[in-house]
Every structure is written in structure tokens, then in C-alpha cells.
């Protein structure tokens, strides 16, 4: 039991340390107030801001489990956000405000689905390295998003759609509910069906999986499709939050945050074993850090440097060479 927890231990300890520092030096970090029908406080803020990366990393972790990586999620966020905003803005122009919300969400998700299918096709059927296959959509995707928005920032008013990103239910912000729902669904699919097992199997050894009768192409493509859908959802949430889609900046660098969250969460980037819970903790850890640093009045750029140090530290801790050394030392002690 203890062994199974080890990959989660490092990020959890880091998170605990940051929270502890806050508890000592800045106790108001933990205060939660009631303000105009919302809960307000740093912890709520952390959860709310971490929601898009949590949604992204829930999809990303599946892709990484198959031994791949999805660099296109940031661009897919931009495409989905632009598509949704385009549908909403178009509807508003035509007849005031018809209920275009479902169409907007649907078309945004459809964009994510197509992106995921393209990535999955390129990786599994054409057999292009995942980094490159998804790099294509990363480069071209932002261009496509700008094409949809005609280089402008598309704004809209639809309150029902805006509520996805800005409203709250039962005291908790909607993005957090959406993130929790996505994480639960992905966890259920991967832990209660054989899909999770297939993912690990494909990631650990694709050839052996194929020989034992697993449809490797289907498993891989599904992972990219889930990742595309998650990216689209994250893009919709962020677009709804600010009632606008900025094709240039929406989701910029989010792929890196998502990969980072997955890596911090103890999922090895070579594929195989993965942890959805770890990825969520990773996303929360980074946002807690960012919020802490900015609330101390330190410049935002310092967060980037801290992020870099965290990546490197976590990587060194997870490095196989360090583990070897650790194990051999243990053996020496035992002998």
C-alpha cells in the first residue's frame, strides 16, 4: 500500500510545504468569505484558476500513458474558444439572443473532437512521432483559430454561456465543478473499465499489446480524442469566463502547464503507469504556487523561474539513475 502511494508523495509534500509556509506567514490565505453570492478567498481562487489546467491534464495524462504527448492542446483551446464565440456572436448579431448556448458548446467540442481525431490518426495510422504529429496542429491550429476570428478578439454577451466560466453553483465556481466532473469521469473510465489497463499496456509495450489482441490504434486514437475534448472544454470555460475569445493568447503555453502537471503528478513521460489524481494535484500545486507568489507581491516572472526549478527537481527525483543509486544503497544497507 505504501509503495502505491510513493508517486503521489512528492507533489503532496511540496503542496503541503507551500500551504504550511502560507499558514505561517500569511494566514489570510486560508480565509474564505461570503461576497455577493460567491465564496471569495485565495483557496477558491486557486481552485478556480487551476480548473482549466486540471481539465487539460486529465486528458493529457491518458495521452502520456500511451507513451505520447499532446502539444496541440493550447491551440485546440484557442480553436474551440474561437468557434464557440463565433457561433454566439453570430447568433447575437442575427436575432438578438436565441438560445445558441448548446450550439456554441457543441461546436466547440466538435472542434476539439476533430483535433483529437487528426492527432490520433497521425500518431496511430501514419505513425508520426507524437511530438511532431501534435506540433503540426500546435503550429497550424493557432493560425486556424485566428482565421475563424479573423484576427479579432470575438466578444459576446450570452449570459447562459458566460455562466460556464464565471458563475457558481452551491457556493463553488462552475469551472471547479466542471473540472471535478471531468476528473471523475476520466478516473471512472480508466479505473472501472479495461480502458485504463489498455492504456497502460499500450504505453508499456505497444507491440506486445497488439500481439495480445489489443487494438493499439483505437486505444491511442481514443486517448488523443479525450485530450482534444478536454482541451476544447478548457477553452470554452476560459472563453466563457471573460466573454471573449482571443485566438492569439487563449491557451498559450497551456500545453506546457498540462504536461508539467502530469509530470509533477508522478506519471512517467515514457508511458505506462499513470495517475489522474497525481495530475490534478500537480495542477493544483502549480496554481497554489503562482497564487502564493503573486499575492506576496513578487513579480509574475518569478513564477516562471520557480516553475522551472520545480520541473527540474521533480525530474531529478523521478530520474531512473537516482532511483538506481537509492536502491543499491538500500541493498548495501540490507546486506
Amino acid at each position: 500500500m505504501k509503495k502505491a502511494l510513493t508517486p503521489l508523495a512528492a507533489p503532496l509534500i511540496l503542496l503541503a510545504i507551500i500551504l504550511l509556509i502560507n499558514a505561517i506567514f500569511w494566514p489570510s490565505f486560508f480565509s474564505i468569505r461570503w461576497f455577493e453570492g460567491h465564496l471569495v478567498g485565495s483557496l477558491v481562487d486557486v481552485a478556480n484558476r487551476a480548473a482549466p489546467v486540471m481539465i487539460l491534464s486529465a486528458g493529457m495524462v491518458l495521452v502520456i500513458a500511451t507513451g505520447g504527448v499532446d502539444l496541440s492542446v493550447g491551440a485546440v483551446m484557442a480553436i474551440a474558444g474561437s468557434v464557440s464565440a463565433f457561433v454566439l456572436a453570430g447568433a447575437e448579431k442575427k436575432t438578438g439572443t436565441p438560445p445558441a448556448t448548446t450550439q456554441a458548446i457543441g461546436s466547440g467540442l466538435l472542434a476539439g473532437l476533430s483535433g483529437g481525431l487528426l492527432n490520433g490518426f497521425l500518431v496511430s495510422v501514419v505513425k508520426i512521432q507524437p511530438i511532431i504529429a501534435t506540433l503540426l496542429l500546435m503550429v497550424a491550429g493557432r493560425g486556424i483559430a485566428q482565421l475563424i476570428s479573423d484576427g479579432q478578439i470575438i466578444t459576446f454577451q450570452n449570459p447562459a454561456f458566460a455562466a460556464i466560466g464565471a458563475g457558481s453553483k452551491f457556493l463553488v465556481p462552475n469551472p471547479v465543478w466542471i473540472a471535478v466532473a471531468v476528473v471523475l469521469i476520466v478516473s471512472l473510465i480508466t479505473r472501472r473499465t479495461s480502458f485504463g489497463l489498455f492504456l497502460e499496456s499500450v504505453g508499456a509495450n505497444a507491440v506486445a499489446s497488439r500481439l495480445s489482441g489489443i487494438n493499439v490504434n483505437l486505444v491511442k486514437t481514443s486517448a488523443y480524442v479525450v485530450s482534444g475534448l478536454c482541451a476544447a472544454l478548457a477553452g470554452i470555460v476560459m472563453t466563457a469566463d471573460i466573454k471573449a475569445a482571443d485566438a492569439n493568447n487563449l491557451g498559450l503555453y497551456y500545453e506546457l502547464d498540462a504536461i508539467l502537471a502530469v509530470a509533477i503528478g508522478g506519471t512517467l513521460l515514457n508511458g505506462g503507469k499513470f495517475s489522474v489524481a497525481g495530475a490534478v494535484i500537480g495542477a493544483l500545486l502549480m496554481q497554489t504556487l503562482t497564487t502564493t507568489v503573486t499575492s506576496w507581491g513578487i513579480d509574475r516572472s518569478a513564477t516562471l523561474i520557480l516553475k522551472a526549478l520545480i520541473v527540474v527537481t521533480v525530474c531529478i527525483l523521478q530520474s531512473p539513475k537516482i532511483k538506481e543509486k537509492w536502491n543499491s544503497r538500500k541493498k548495501e544497507v540490507l546486506a
Binding site: V69, V126, K127, I128, Q129, I131, I132, L135, L136, L137, M138, V139, A140, G141, R142, G143, I144, Q146, L147, D150, G151, L256, I259, L260, A263, L269, N270, D299, R300, S301, A302, T303, L304, I305, L306, K307, A308, L309, V311, V312, C315, I316, S319, P320, K321, I322
Partner: protein, 325 residues
């Protein structure tokens, strides 16, 4: 059979470049003037220099995502040293080049000694360098130093209006030197060997860790040069300059025929890849009504086409091998 495959892989980027150049030449009036062609070199010198260093990394089977940030960091660091610390530009350039190289060495060390995925380490480097750059200044810094300005505005007159800037000259010289190093030195052959198969390179007694550290050092060094050239080009430093440049550099290398799995590719190919990207960009400017985002879509499609071509060539190779057995 083997020769045919190599011929396709080697010559297709060059053929595509010539065809694109001629097609655009027929489409747009004045495109074929030498001035325009040499301006492509001038406008893309910083990208070219960066892509050359990245090619070394990719040849070993690695990747360096930090180059764009290092370009941005070097530019703002240089501007701050000259404009705010009142340092002589030559000294400042030296310091900037050293710090870029140092960053590369650290990344290479982590990759070689701890066996961490290059992707992750250089992702850390990307955040780190951009963070440092933003810490120096979030605003763009002008460089007014006369010595620096003179180099920045220098232009070597060739013929009929065509000129080479200082950046173009550095790009061309660097391309020649690195091309020779890869082809004719022990280090160059080791780079290919490590990319071909790291385990066999190790078993052959080649200095694998040292080579890996060196290629990341080279990539950091050339990215720093890229930053200096970018500052010369704009006569200023900007912390958010060259965001996403790593993707253009990777695209240039891949379009130029370098395999991302390592072990195959040339500097000539990368230079041609840079020229193809530059030509597309210039053509879109010439066209006038097409927006700049078409560049991204076009480059994405071009990248896909080249990867598919590489795949097709590779597959022919495999089937040829199988029929031999």
C-alpha cells in the same frame, strides 16, 4: 536502391525551395529581384543561427525547447548590459554568449547525467530563461550605443541592390563552420552515432555524455547568438521577443530533412528549411491581402507534407530491406 532513397531525402528540400521561389516569382512582381532574396537571409538570420544549433541537438535524438526563450533572454540581457550597465557592447556580447552556453551546459548535464527526458529539461529551460528575461525588464530596452548601432546598420553591398547585414554574414559563416564540423570531425561523427543508436555508440566507446552536453551547449550558444542578432536587427532588447521561435526552428530542421528521431540530417538542409520558411513569409507579405496567420497554416501544411514524404521514403526503405531477406 539506397542511393535513390538518399537522393530523394537530400534533394527534396532544395527542389521545394527552388520551386516555391520560382512560383512566387511568377506570382508576384519583383519577387525574384536579388534584393528580396538577400533580405530573406537578413530577416531570418537569427532564426537560422538558432536552428543550426538546434539541428545538433536533434541529430543526437534530443530536442531543445528552450531556444526561443534563450533568444529572448539574450536580447534583453544584452540591451540591459549596454544601456543600463553602460558596458561596452563587445564585452556585453561576450557575457551574453557565455551565459547562453552555460544554460545549455546545465541542461545537457541534467539530460546526460540524470537520464531525464530532454523534452522536460528544456521545458524547464524555456520557463527559466523567459522568467529571467522578464525579471530583467518587462519593457523593451533601446540600445543607443554608437558602436552597436554601427554594426546593426552595417550592410555589405553585393550587386544590384542586394546587401548582406552583419547578421546575414554571421549566419553564413556559422553555417559553413558547423557544416564542416559535422562532416569532418570526430565530434561531428559522434553526434550522428549517438543519434543513430545511443547504446551502440556507448558500446563503441564513444564519449556519449560529453557529446550530449556539448550539443546542448552549442544550442545554447547559437540561441544566444540568435538573441544578439535579434538585438542588432531591432536595435533593442525585448523580454517577450522570439516567443515560440523553438517551433519555427524545429520546423526548419524537419523541413530541411533532419529526422527527429536523430542520426540523419545536415546543416545545409536546415539552412534550406529556414529559407523555405522565410520565402513563404515574404510571399505572404508580398501578396498583401492574406493575413499573417496564413503563414502558420501554410508552414503547418508544409511540415506535414515533408513528414509524410520522409515516412514514404522510410517505408520504401523498409520494404526494400524485407524483400532482400
Amino acid at each position: 536502391m539506397k542511393n535513390w532513397r538518399t537522393t530523394v531525402a537530400t534533394w527534396s528540400p532544395a527542389v521545394v525551395f527552388v520551386v516555391l521561389y520560382l512560383v512566387f516569382g511568377f506570382m508576384f512582381k519583383g519577387f525574384l529581384e536579388p534584393r528580396v532574396g538577400f533580405n530573406i537571409i537578413k530577416d531570418n538570420a537569427f532564426l537560422g543561427v538558432t536552428a543550426i544549433g538546434l539541428t545538433f541537438v536533434i541529430l543526437t535524438g534530443g530536442i531543445d525547447l528552450s531556444v526561443g526563450s534563450v533568444v529572448g533572454f539574450s536580447g534583453i540581457f544584452l540591451a540591459s548590459l549596454i544601456a543600463q550597465q553602460h558596458m561596452h557592447p563587445a564585452m556585453a556580447i561576450l557575457i551574453v554568449l557565455c551565459s547562453g552556453t552555460l544554460l545549455g551546459v546545465v541542461q545537457g548535464f541534467l539530460i546526460a547525467k540524470f537520464d531525464i527526458a530532454p523534452f522536460l529539461v528544456t521545458l524547464g529551460g524555456l520557463f527559466f530563461a523567459r522568467g529571467l528575461a522578464l525579471t530583467i525588464s518587462t519593457e523593451s530596452i533601446q540600445i543607443e550605443h554608437p558602436w552597436f548601432k554601427e554594426i546593426g546598420l552595417y550592410s555589405f553591398k553585393l550587386f544590384s541592390g542586394a546587401t548582406l547585414s552583419a547578421g546575414s554574414i554571421v549566419f553564413i559563416i556559422l553555417a559553413i563552420i558547423t557544416g564542416l564540423i559535422l562532416k569532418f570531425t570526430f565530434f561531428g561523427r559522434t553526434v550522428y552515432a549517438v543519434g543513430g543508436n545511443q547504446d551502440s555508440a556507448n558500446l563503441m566507446g564513444l564519449p556519449v555524455p560529453r557529446t550530449i552536453i556539448s550539443v546542448y551547449a552549442i544550442s545554447g550558444f547559437t540561441a544566444a547568438i540568435g538573441g544578439v542578432l535579434f538585438s542588432l536587427y531591432t536595435l533593442s532588447g525585448n523580454a517577450v521577443a522570439a516567443t515560440g521561435l523553438e517551433l519555427d526552428a524545429i520546423a526548419a530542421a524537419v523541413i530541411g530533412g533532419t529526422l527527429l528521431s536523430g542520426g540523419y540530417g545536415t546543416i545545409t538542409g536546415t539552412v534550406i528549411g529556414v529559407m523555405i520558411l522565410g520565402t513563404v513569409q515574404t510571399a505572404i507579405t508580398f501578396q498583401g491581402t492574406l493575413s499573417s496567420w496564413w503563414t502558420k497554416i501554410f508552414i503547418g501544411s508544409l511540415l506535414l507534407a515533408f513528414i509524410l514524404l520522409q515516412k514514404a521514403v522510410g517505408q520504401f526503405d523498409r520494404s526494400a530491406n524485407q524483400s532482400n531477406h
